[in-house]
Symmetry: C2
Subunit: 257 residues, 2 copies
C-alpha cells in the first residue's frame, strides 16, 4: 500500500468510528440520512460505512433504522477483564455505596471527559445517570478536578490550552483561571467537591486513587443530593470514607501486581 | 469516491476492527509484530492501523506494547443504555442469583456465539467466567441450544450449514445430526441443560426469554457445578425458577414498551 493508500486507510477508519459513535444514548436508532448529516458525509459514503458495520456485526438494520448490536459489548469486556482497577475496586465501592446509600463510581480521564470504569449503586434499579462507559465533562465534576490536578505539568498545561469549558448549568465554572485555582486547591486538600455545576441540585465529592507506586490512576467519587449533604458533611464524613476506599483499592492493586 | 475507493473503505474498516479485536482476554497487551502476525497484515500496514486507533483514543502505546483504553467502554454503554432487555432483566436475575447462590446470565445469539448482555453473581468478587460482553460457542451451551432452536427455519438451516462445531471437551457434541435433534427436543421441552460440554464439571441450564409479542429474544441461564445439582434438580427446581424469571422479564418488557 503506498502513501495515498495510507491516507485513505486512516480517513476510512476515522469515519467508520465516527459513524459507530453517532449511535449513543440520545440517538439509539438512526436512518442513513441522519447518520450522513451527523458525521458530515455524503449519503453514498455514509451508506458504505453503515453497511460495512452491519457486515461486521456491530450494527443491524431493521427497515430504515440502524441500531447497535450487543457485539459492541465485547470491546468493553476485553478492557474490563484485562485491567485490575475495575475488578479490584468493585467490592470496595459496593460496600461504600451500601454504607452511604448513594451511587459511587471509579472514573479515569479520557480526553476532556471523565469516564466511568466501575460503578456501584445502593439501589436495585440502577439509574442511567452514571454507569460503566458513561462520560461527563471533566471540568464540571469533582472527579475531573482531582484527575486534572494530578496530570503532569505538561499534560495539565495542554488540557487548559485546548479544553472547551462548556456552561452546563448557570453555576458551571467556565473561567480557566478560576478552574486552575480550584484544581490546585483540590490537590493540596486531597479531595474535591462540586455543587450545581454538572446538574442543578447535585453535589459530588471525589478523591484520588493511587497505584502502588503512588501515581494517581483514577478517582473515586460519590454523587449526592445537595439537599441531603452539606459541605461539612463532605469534609468530615464523606471525603474520609472515600479516602479509606481509595486506600483499600491501592492496597488491592498492590496484591494483584 | 469511486468504486475502487469503496472497496478500500470496506477493507480498511474490516482491518481496523480486526486489529482492535485482537486485544482480548488472552492478549491484553501486544507488540506491533504480534498484531501483524495475528491479523495477517504486513508490519507497515498493521502499524498504520494501530497508530490510527491510538490517535482515535481506543488504544494506547506504552513502550512497545499496545493496550485497549477505557474509551472502548463507551460503545457498550451506548448499547446498554438504549436497550430495554438488560435493564429490565437485571433486578430479576439479581434475585435469582441470590436465591440459587449461583451465577445467572442473560444471553443473545451473536453469529455462532452466545453473548452475555446481563449478568448477576451471588458472590461479591465476580469470577471472570461470565460477564457482560463475554462470548461462548453456542453449540456447547444450554443458552445456545435454546436460541438456535428458536431461530426461524431459514436461519436455523443457515446456522447448521455453516457452523464449525469445535470440540471443547471430550464430551462436546460435534455431530450436526445429534445437535439438531437435541435442539428440537429443547424447543419441545421448554428448557435446556448441558453438562461437561463447555467445561468439564460444569452443568448449565437455560430457558427462552420472549418479548411481549412472544418472539424469543434471549435466554436466561445459570451455570452450576455438576456435583451440586442433578438433572432432576434442574428439571424440578432450577428450570421452573428460570422460567419464572423469564416470564417476569417478558412482563417487564411489556411495561417499558
Amino acid at each position: 500500500m503506498d502513501d495515498g493508500g495510507a491516507i485513505v486507510t486512516v480517513n476510512s477508519v476515522e469515519r467508520a468510528f465516527a459513524v459507530l459513535r453517532c449511535f449513543d444514548v440520545d440517538h439509539p436508532a438512526r436512518t442513513l440520512s441522519s447518520v450522513a448529516a451527523s458525521v458530515g458525509l455524503p449519503r453514498g459514503t455514509a451508506r458504505r460505512f453503515l453497511l460495512t458495520l452491519v457486515e461486521l456485526g456491530y450494527l443491524q438494520l431493521d427497515g430504515r433504522l440502524f441500531t447497535l448490536t450487543p457485539l459492541v459489548l465485547t470491546f468493553g469486556h476485553s478492557y474490563l477483564a484485562t485491567h485490575d482497577l475495575p475488578r479490584v475496586a468493585q467490592p470496595r465501592i459496593d460496600r461504600l455505596a451500601a454504607d452511604l446509600g448513594e451511587t459511587v463510581a471509579v472514573t479515569v480521564l479520557s480526553g476532556e471527559d471523565i469516564l466511568c470504569v466501575a460503578c456501584a449503586s445502593s439501589q436495585r434499579v440502577v439509574t442511567a445517570a452514571i454507569a460503566v462507559g458513561s462520560r461527563f465533562p471533566a471540568h464540571a465534576t469533582a472527579s475531573g478536578r482531582v484527575l486534572i490536578g494530578h496530570l503532569s505539568p505538561e499534560e495539565r498545561d495542554k488540557y487548559f490550552a485546548t479544553v472547551v469549558l462548556r456552561q452546563l448549568t448557570p453555576r458551571t465554572v467556565v473561567d480557566r483561571r478560576v478552574l486552575r485555582s480550584d484544581v490546585n486547591h483540590v490537590v493540596e486538600q486531597g479531595w474535591s467537591t462540586v455543587t450545581d455545576e454538572l446538574e442543578m441540585g447535585m453535589r459530588s465529592a471525589a478523591v484520588p486513587v493511587r497505584d502502588p507506586e503512588g501515581v494517581v490512576v483514577a478517582a473515586v467519587n460519590v454523587s449526592l443530593q445537595k439537599s441531603r449533604y452539606s459541605v461539612d458533611d463532605i469534609r468530615y464524613a464523606v471525603a474520609p470514607a472515600l479516602s479509606e476506599a481509595a486506600a483499600a483499592i491501592t492496597a488491592g492493586l498492590r496484591r494483584t501486581n
